[in-house]
Symmetry: C2
Subunit: 408 residues, 2 copies
Amino acid sequence: MKDIVQDQLKSLSEGTTAVIPENEFEIKIARSLREQKPLVVKLGLDPTSPDIHIGHTVVLHKMRQFQEFGHQAVILIGDYTARIGDPTGRSETRKPLSETQILDNARTYQEQIFKILNPNQTRVVFNSSWLADLSFADILTLAAQTTVARMLERDDFAKRYAEGTAIGLHEFFYPLMQGYDSVALEADVELGGTDQTFNLLMGRSLQRFYGQEPQVALTMPILEGLDGVQKMSKSLGNYIGVTEEAREIFGKSMSIPDELMIRYFELVTPLNKEETADFERGLAAGTYHPRDLKMRLGMELVTLFYDREAAAWARQEFEKVFSKKGVPDDMPEFCLGDLELTARPEVISLLVAVGFAPSRGEARRLVEQGGVRINDVKVQAETTHVEVQSGDVLKVGKRKFCQLTVER
Amino acid sequence: MKDIVQDQLKSLSEGTTAVIPENEFEIKIARSLREQKPLVVKLGLDPTSPDIHIGHTVVLHKMRQFQEFGHQAVILIGDYTARIGDPTGRSETRKPLSETQILDNARTYQEQIFKILNPNQTRVVFNSSWLADLSFADILTLAAQTTVARMLERDDFAKRYAEGTAIGLHEFFYPLMQGYDSVALEADVELGGTDQTFNLLMGRSLQRFYGQEPQVALTMPILEGLDGVQKMSKSLGNYIGVTEEAREIFGKSMSIPDELMIRYFELVTPLNKEETADFERGLAAGTYHPRDLKMRLGMELVTLFYDREAAAWARQEFEKVFSKKGVPDDMPEFCLGDLELTARPEVISLLVAVGFAPSRGEARRLVEQGGVRINDVKVQAETTHVEVQSGDVLKVGKRKFCQLTVER
């Protein structure tokens, strides 16, 4: 029995940044086994944007591991604040979401997370079910469980307060709400990125106040994006979305820095510790070539989000384009006439019109860096207009292609 | 018409510390006169302790003046937080009050405030009527209207934060609730002591957010207590309670420092500006004796809380005791046997037993300062026990007397 507890403790702690506190985690696991009662493992998701990228899957993989040990995953959709939107009334972009939008987003979420989680051991809950019922008195009681100074210790608040950037008083409530969710769910464990540590600990305090055994906070590393430096994020553009095309997922995987490869294997693929350790040794010894392993990473990711067949096809396409300097089998076609461009368009306008650059500034940068080619001939930095003939292939960077026609 | 506006503006601004902002006050008065619509003038009272002292009456006198100009007084009983008690659950002394207790306190309040206010122009309201209905979403919206930095600008919060004294997050809600009360009442003016300035201005911000014309904040000076230094407060013991005996009110009035006399006339009696100005000039010129004016102050206060007859009697009693070194007509009697004391009691125990000292430490201090007399003979500092015979008069300070008997 003691061995089984230790096995579980070891596996579930692997790859985490912190388990707070470790001894309580061991006690919970032992009791769960003894009483044959699964642990309630909570993970909160924000339903304001339904697209998730592989940075989000780091915690999902950990959750999957809990499921494999028979525990109960609870995916908490934080719909309550999404319904409210931006309570200052100032933000145009954070309009309140309707019930339908939230349910739509939640459905999209589920499709994505069930690529990793086992649906039969997953409960999806919405925090509006309990937060909407709290009275002002309940909320004051909740607020009384923390102090202003403690809130201002949270890294981002501390920074903003020091800088003199406004912190709306309502923002102090988000950690409290997240903590109260743990009370409502009687969570045994809460998962989160390391940036969630403060909020996970708030759950512990509140559970203690409400007479519950505090949850264990289990934090996972934040995944670096394709640039290998900053955290993966949609707004930085350095991400692999889980709903992207197979070819994109594969291609983007090939673009990560070599040093990041093992970390990606560990954090966002279902490969076990032994396999990744073998890769690490092989790389160091030179028995594995980085390019081959990166191909394996790409295959694993595409298989995870599609299937083996799609992975094989994506790899073929990649090899055709990059190894054989070819062009992909299928690529979008654009008619200059439809884009309201002449047969001698301005390069900048062309790049923006076909969607290869989000802005004229960005398009200019691409040309200046020599990243734009027509029929595999580089467009020079000083070029303003180009002659186009039907059938010409426009290429930007390594993986963006399209075929141009002048008139339909 | 313009003159009437100016008259009202001048009278109502008299004695205030600040009118924020003055130009809006003038606009409101002018419109009220033009449209024959009384201003809604709000004053909040805390129902946790039902006893009020004359320090509290400073704002009530100002309210009375508004009533005399035909405006509508709204006394807001802050019952909502009293129902909650101390939300940290730590304080034994701030237990939640029951509905019955709150109504009892409110009734006691009304008896006291209607000694100054005109009941026919007074509406008494309880803020639980609207605060209890707010949802979490409403509260987040409310919280979003202010920032953490702005809250920390409030004097007491700034001080506590700088000192490292804990500020419970719920405390930030008290100004917001007070401000929201103004929204619920659509208040035109809110009265308060200068220590309420921050909260009154919060009302202005919130009214603006909810699309209302902001109230004018009208602040009154804080009355110094009998010591002439610290603010009048029950816990400092330097107060005159409005329900105290006539003799006590009169006697305490006689004990204030001469320099404070005019201020008391101005702030806590219904005398008008001309009369108090006359007193002030008379004192300076020596045509009024301070002792006579202080007697007048005592008479005014007793008349306010009782009637002319009680005032005349209190004055007679005072003169008998102090001017003629006599003892009052009626004084409490204590039997040493009943107090479980012998005929030769310890002085300290005796003072505590008859209620002339709240603690043994305080009793010791009184003896050491030479403030204790038996049959007008000072009890020396080194005395530990005294011989008592039935009929002896124990006197402490200037106004505390009792007659002792040894056995019934």
